[in-house]
């Protein structure tokens, strides 16, 4: 792999790993788990020889705390795992949120709960966007839908994490991790390292010593810390990203992220072919969630259909955004099963049929 931007055919996991090196990642800690072990393995080969610290820890619990240490000392750090491993990391994530440590975490989701299956899933949406660990904290959550985005979001992830001193999560799934697509890798070193005056990287005489902690015994102080975090999360609302496809004239709006959005886009094309006016909103940031655009579309569209590879998790955020203005339907598959475009199309058709019947009644 040369250091300039170039097109290559890569697996999602490997594209992400290569991007991390190009984004100047200095340390990576991981633990093998399917379907994301290629990230660790790719980095072990290509990262070590490019000067990065690549370490297989004794567990995900150890790995996330190594992240706490390395990122706290000012390094640009990434960690990756798949669902069960991410669950184990929640304690460290919560502590780092409080201590305001920036880091990038990648979840290549598989079907759960429990050990579940190694097949792709989106079952960790709640965990990723609502907390997962304890306390009032958030991660910025980016949802890639292609191998290209697996690579691109590494850059966004580091940039946002360091800008706000928060954790950023790339919420992918096993299919995106394993699929091969063409990817343009950005050039090496295109994300410069910024000063981190808060880091525990030695004490110059010019300032107080830095202590990283998440312990604030006095409730007044703890509330202050919380208020500061909340101010930060409000600021982060400005980072909302989404993709809107053919929503202008649409009666039915599909809402889907990641792989489910790709499936939905296919269903959209099939429906349009049949003359049903369907649009698609694909949230790219799951936190902050693109509520405003959905609220706005709710004024013009007739119905929403949320498509997910889970039992209906983002569904709740869509319902909140739509505020009962229009019906919100749901199509989901679980446990590593993918909804097919045809399945989604059938759902669209039945919504369209009900909608047509209703409008006849009204007119």
């Amino acid at each position: 792999m040369k250091a300039n931007s170039e097109i290559s055919l890569m697996k999602g996991n490997e594209a992400l790993a290569e991007a991390a090196l190009r984004a100047g990642m200095q340390a990576y800690f991981g633990y093998p788990i399917t379907p994301q072990s290629e990230i660790l393995e790719y980095l072990a080969v290509h990262g070590t020889k490019r000067g990065a610290v690549i370490l297989q820890a004794e567990s995900e619990l150890a790995a996330i705390n190594m992240v706490y240490g390395a990122a706290g000392a000012g390094a640009r750090v990434m960690i990756s795992s798949s669902s069960p491993g991410i669950s184990l990391m929640q304690e460290g994530i919560s502590y780092m949120a409080s201590a305001e440590i920036p880091f990038l975490i990648v979840n290549v989701q598989r079907g759960g709960p429990g050990l579940g299956t190694i097949q792709p899933s989106q079952g960790d949406y709640f965990q990723a966007t609502k907390g997962g660990g304890h306390g009032d904290y958030r991660l910025i959550v980016l949802a890639p839908a292609s191998v290209q985005e697996m690579a691109d979001f590494v850059f966004d992830g580091f940039r946002l994490a360091e800008k706000y001193r928060v954790g950023t999560m790339i919420l992918a799934d096993g299919a995106l991790g394993q699929m091969m697509e063409k990817v343009v890798q950005p050039p090496m070193g295109s994300l410069p390292l910024a000063e981190k005056p808060w880091a525990t990287a030695g004490k110059p005489p010019s300032r107080e010593r830095n202590i990283l902690t998440s312990l604030f015994i006095q409730p007044e102080k703890m509330e202050e810390v919380n208020l500061k975090l909340q101010r930060k999360y409000r600021e982060i609302q400005s980072e909302v990203r989404y993709e809107a496809i053919q929503v202008e004239d649409a009666d039915i709006i599909l809402v889907a992220f990641g792989l489910a959005a790709r499936i939905s886009q296919k269903a959209l094309e099939l429906a349009r072919h049949k003359g049903i006016r369907v649009g698609l909103v694909r949230p790219i940031t799951l936190y902050p969630f693109p509520s405003a655009i959905l609220s706005q579309i709710a004024l013009s569209a007739e119905a929403f259909l949320v498509v997910e590879m889970n039992a209906g998790q983002m569904l709740e955020d869509v319902e909140l955004a739509v505020r009962g203005e229009k019906p919100v339907h749901f199509k989901g598959r679980m446990g590593g099963m993918l909804p097919s475009p045809e399945e989604v199309l059938r759902e669209i058709e039945s919504i369209a049929a009900v909608h047509a019947a209703n409008s006849e009644l009204i007119s």
Partner: protein, 350 residues
């Protein structure tokens, strides 16, 4: 005075003197390990040993974490848990404390037991619950397709250590001894007789029994133990520990282990300088000796010790727990919740 645990154990031994055969312990599941995997032999020997233990099948539970080795409970026609990566020892502890009458077996791998589960493992050993721990050591992560494990040797090239491992490996026997395990043994998949004998001894031990089993992963770490398991090299590279016997080894039984201070060394019995009488004599009850023997493990000049390093008695956790519960009940009485709620200052609100 017999404890509750005694009663329960006796019950399990006598209630059903069913005469099982190994077939009775084979489940209807297809065994799904790679052809040639060492796990098959460990499964077969375990199924062979189980009938001799005289424990009714419905009193036996196998608990595993995650890994190739951890598929074991599916194949045993007993109760089973296929649990969480690294947590089998903790889950087994819960089972044993809730049901001391069950015969509880943990099956774990070198990664499952000593990497992610290292913490729970040492605490189980220290507590000495009557649980049998079989650690299948193949010095690799099998299930996730070949990353290094905490027993992989220095310099080991794997998918996650392409330039060689720089992590110093655990010696499972020393780790178990360091955690105050009351029974520590090592055996091998390719020595069925020895494996069976060790399993029986482990089963009979009253307390936590830790058994490391060298297991060949012929797909991701083939031949890791061939030096110790294959006919041509075994005799010269392995010293079998036998209680009360001097440490003799070699194809011609012409070599022995002698203690020079605290350090074991190999001596020849051929040239007349040393005789069997000069050799170290094994004593399973000697904790200090067990440390010395286990420490021979990674020393290239010494043969690999295989067998029982230590087998001593210490009260089990469940015995102590039962004793404490009876003591507390006797001392303070059974307790009465409504009495407690109505004690001290109480009000009646109308």
């Amino acid at each position: 005075m017999s404890t509750l645990v005694d009663d329960l154990l006796n019950q399990t031994r006598t209630a059903e003197q069913a005469k099982y055969t190994s077939k009775d312990f084979q489940s209807d599941q297809d065994v799904r390990w790679c052809p040639g995997c060492g796990d098959y032999s460990i499964l077969a020997q375990t199924q062979r040993v189980m009938p001799d233990l005289g424990i009714p099948k419905h009193k036996v539970v196998f608990v595993s974490g995650i890994g190739c080795s951890s598929r074991f409970p599916y194949y045993m026609d007993t109760y089973g848990f296929h649990s969480i990566h690294g947590r089998a020892t903790a889950i087994a502890s819960g089972i044993k404390m809730a049901r001391p009458d069950l015969s509880v077996w943990v099956v774990t791998g070198d990664g499952d037991g000593m990497s992610i589960g290292g913490n729970h493992l040492i605490h189980l050993l220290r507590r000495n619950l009557n649980i049998k721990v079989l650690l299948f050591n193949n010095q690799i992560y099998g299930l996730t397709k070949g990353q290094y494990s905490p027993t992989s040797e220095l310099g080991k090239v794997t998918k996650s250590t392409p330039y060689g491992s720089i992590d110093y490996p655990f010696n499972p026997a020393s780790l178990a001894l360091g955690a105050s395990s009351t029974f520590v043994a090592r055996t091998m998949d390719r020595d069925p007789k020895h494996l069976q004998a060790i399993l029986k001894r482990a089963a009979d031990h009253r307390g936590t029994a830790f058994v490391e089993v060298y297991q060949n992963c012929n797909v991701f770490n083939d031949g890791a133990f061939f030096q110790f398991t294959e006919k041509e090299s075994k005799d010269d590279n392995v010293v079998f520990l036998e209680d009360g016997k001097p440490l003799v080894f070699g194809k011609e039984r012409d070599k022995g282990i002698r203690l020079n201070g605290f350090s074991p060394e190999v001596v020849s019995l051929k040239d007349g300088k040393w005789s069997v009488n000069d050799l170290l004599v094994h004593n399973e009850k000697d904790t200090t000796l067990s440390f010395i023997l286990a420490d021979m493990t990674y020393k290239p000049s010494l043969p690999r010790p295989v067998g029982i390093f230590l087998a001593i008695n210490r009260p089990t956790y469940e015995e102590e727990m039962t004793r404490q519960i009876s003591f507390a009940k006797e001392k303070r009485g059974e307790g009465d919740m409504s009495k407690l709620l109505n004690s001290g200052e109480t009000w009646v609100i109308n």
